[in-house]
């Protein structure tokens, strides 16, 4: 019997542990970790390939974290079935673990379309876990040509990570632009240009349709030869535990601000969930690390009987390639303010006296000020937007607001 059971040992899980412990110092906590690693920052895997970090430094928390927190971690096992009525979890090892409250933070899994001939490819990988990275790391060398299917965040970070270790990298995507989920055409082009300048080749609007050992046949009929294939088409939230137990699930597990699912004593947090995007005013999957932590934390506090809601989630991303960064947040709707130079773009979207979203490429300093305006729904009429749109600065705030922000403990 565990007072608190956490399924998934990633960022949401860590947030959940810390949330619980901020309220309850003694209740027993058990974590089911499918991966055989202590929690690590998932996005670090590209930096691992790149050599910017190593296994010693990838731990999200210090090595004695679980011990200090009084957490029992079960490594290498997966939860098969959740029984909220009984308060039990069945593991793939066959054992059951009774719990008081459970947090489902099962994350997401790579989505692999059914390509023809994929099984003939020897050296093929997803790029989701540390084990994926370790596997790629084992085969990557200067003689290798890499084909990455998918020009999204994962695919491109993988490309960056491998760039200096392999002979050649080609990224293909059915979409016409890179980072299509967060960048518009113009921004994507700027980013693509920068990537190309750093030696990444692209085949856009033209993805692989079939494979033959070391050859990919593209939709256009072109063929691309490769030694390593990386599939980064997309991810899907792991929702089945809750869905199977009868909980409400859309694309992700539906949660409220306290991270409660529709099932009794069952909470969920992280990439597997679907919460309210306040910039959009709709529920959606916000599979980003900060949200995972904050959701996890809110879930933990709620599970332990405390009061914490996470209800100002927005999508936001800081993504950089070869020292060139793009920052995005919120939704891109409403009036547009734009500021462009040859190597930078800034787009601010405003609606109903609110900043709704932005894309910033190249001039990212103090972008958090914009982010917070979206999150806090600060009326733009309360500050000097003329100054603000030119640069993210609290100088655009009224002196009173600045005094509030800077004048005391926050």
């Amino acid at each position: 019997m565990s007072d608190y059971l956490i399924i998934g040992n990633s960022i949401a899980g860590i947030g959940c542990i810390e949330g619980i412990r901020s309220v309850d110092k003694t209740g027993t906590i058990t974590v089911i970790s499918g991966e055989n690693h202590a929690a690590y920052g998932r996005p670090l895997i590209s930096y691992f390939l790149e050599g910017k970090t190593d296994l010693d430094h990838m731990n999200y928390r210090s090595p004695d974290f679980y011990e200090n927190m009084g957490v029992d971690v079960i490594y290498g096992k997966k939860a098969e079935k959740l029984d909220p009525e009984k308060g039990e979890i069945l593991l793939d090892s066959g054992e059951t673990i009774p719990f008081g409250k459970v947090c489902v933070s099962t994350g997401s899994s790579p989505f692999v379309p059914p390509f023809e001939g994929l099984d003939t490819v020897e050296s093929k990988f997803s790029f989701m876990t540390l084990d994926d990275a370790l596997a790629i790391d084992a085969v990557a060398d200067e003689s290798k040509r890499v084909l990455i299917v998918g020009a999204g965040l994962i695919g491109l970070k993988c490309a960056e990570g491998l760039k200096n270790r392999v002979k050649e990298i080609t990224v293909c995507d059915l979409a016409e632009r890179v980072l299509s989920s967060i960048l518009d055409t113009e921004c994507a082009a700027l980013m693509q240009k920068h990537l190309e300048e750093n030696g990444i080749k692209f085949l856009l609007g033209d993805s692989a349709v079939s494979f033959d050992r070391d050859k990919a046949v593209m939709k256009s009929g072109k063929t691309v030869e490769f030694d390593i294939l990386i599939l980064a088409v997309g991810v899907r939230p792991n929702t089945s535990l809750v869905a199977d137990a009868g909980g409400e699930v859309n694309r992700g597990i539906i949660v409220d601000g306290r991270m409660a699912t529709t099932l009794k004593n069952v909470y969920a947090a992280g990439d597997c969930t679907e919460g309210e995007d306040i910039s959009l005013g709709q529920k959606r999957v916000l599979a980003i690390l900060p949200n995972a932590y904050m959701q996890g934390h809110a879930a933990g506090v709620s599970m332990a009987g405390g009061e914490e809601s996470f209800n100002n989630a927005i999508p936001m991303n800081s993504i950089g390639f070869f020292g060139f960064h793009a920052m995005t947040a919120g939704t891109y709707e409403g009036d547009l303010y734009e500021d462009k130079t040859e190597d930078s773009i800034k787009r601010l979207f405003t609606k109903d006296d609110l900043l709704k979203g932005f894309i910033i490429i190249g001039k990212e300093e103090r972008a958090g000020i914009y982010t917070s305006l979206i999150r806090e729904k600060t009326p733009l009429s309360s500050l000097n937007f003329e100054i603000l749109k030119q640069s993210a600065t609290t100088a655009a705030f009224s002196p009173d607001l600045r005094r509030k922000k800077f004048g005391g403990m926050v």
Binding site: P43, K52, G320, K405, F406, G408
Partner: protein, 146 residues
């Protein structure tokens, strides 16, 4: 906990805090040697316009969103002070994306650095505070702003 606060009424925008900060964290003993002929990467920045200037550095929030958002677990709170582990940071700038104060900026090599109240260097008191010619920057205990 004592924090660095800036009274913008007295900030002259002289930027000396930036230089004092850069020097304090350079590990060198001679300011000219440490800073001459190169761009500086201070952990405090003057912001403002013609009407107002003020220095901004980490607020050491009690509920820091940067720490929660760090993809590498490189930011942590130790006795109220938010510090960055340079060995863990990969320079993704997520903290820049979330900090509501614009208080974070990367160092020369792209790895994040931030105001750690000069607790880890030899200054004893934040160098921006000791060096401020108009006591616009102070290091003191305060409650929440009203």
């Amino acid at each position: 906990m004592k924090r660095v606060y800036v009274n913008e009424e007295w900030c002259l925008g002289c930027h000396l805090c930036e230089y004092n900060c850069a020097f304090a964290n350079s590990g060198l003993t001679d300011m000219a040697y440490a800073l001459k002929g190169k761009p500086i990467f201070p952990r405090i920045h003057i912001e403002g316009n013609e009407k107002v200037t003020y220095a901004v550095s980490c607020r050491h929030c009690t509920d820091p969103i940067c720490v929660k958002s760090c993809i590498a677990g490189a930011l942590s709170v130790s006795e109220g002070v938010i510090t960055v582990d340079r060995d863990k940071c990969v320079g993704c700038l997520t903290c820049v994306l979330v900090c509501p104060y614009g208080a974070l900026s990367p160092s020369e090599d792209g790895i994040m650095q931030k105001c750690e109240l000069c607790l880890k260097n030899s200054c004893g008191e934040p160098a921006c505070v000791t060096g401020c010619p108009n006591k616009a920057i102070v290091y003191e205990e305060r409650g929440a702003a009203n």
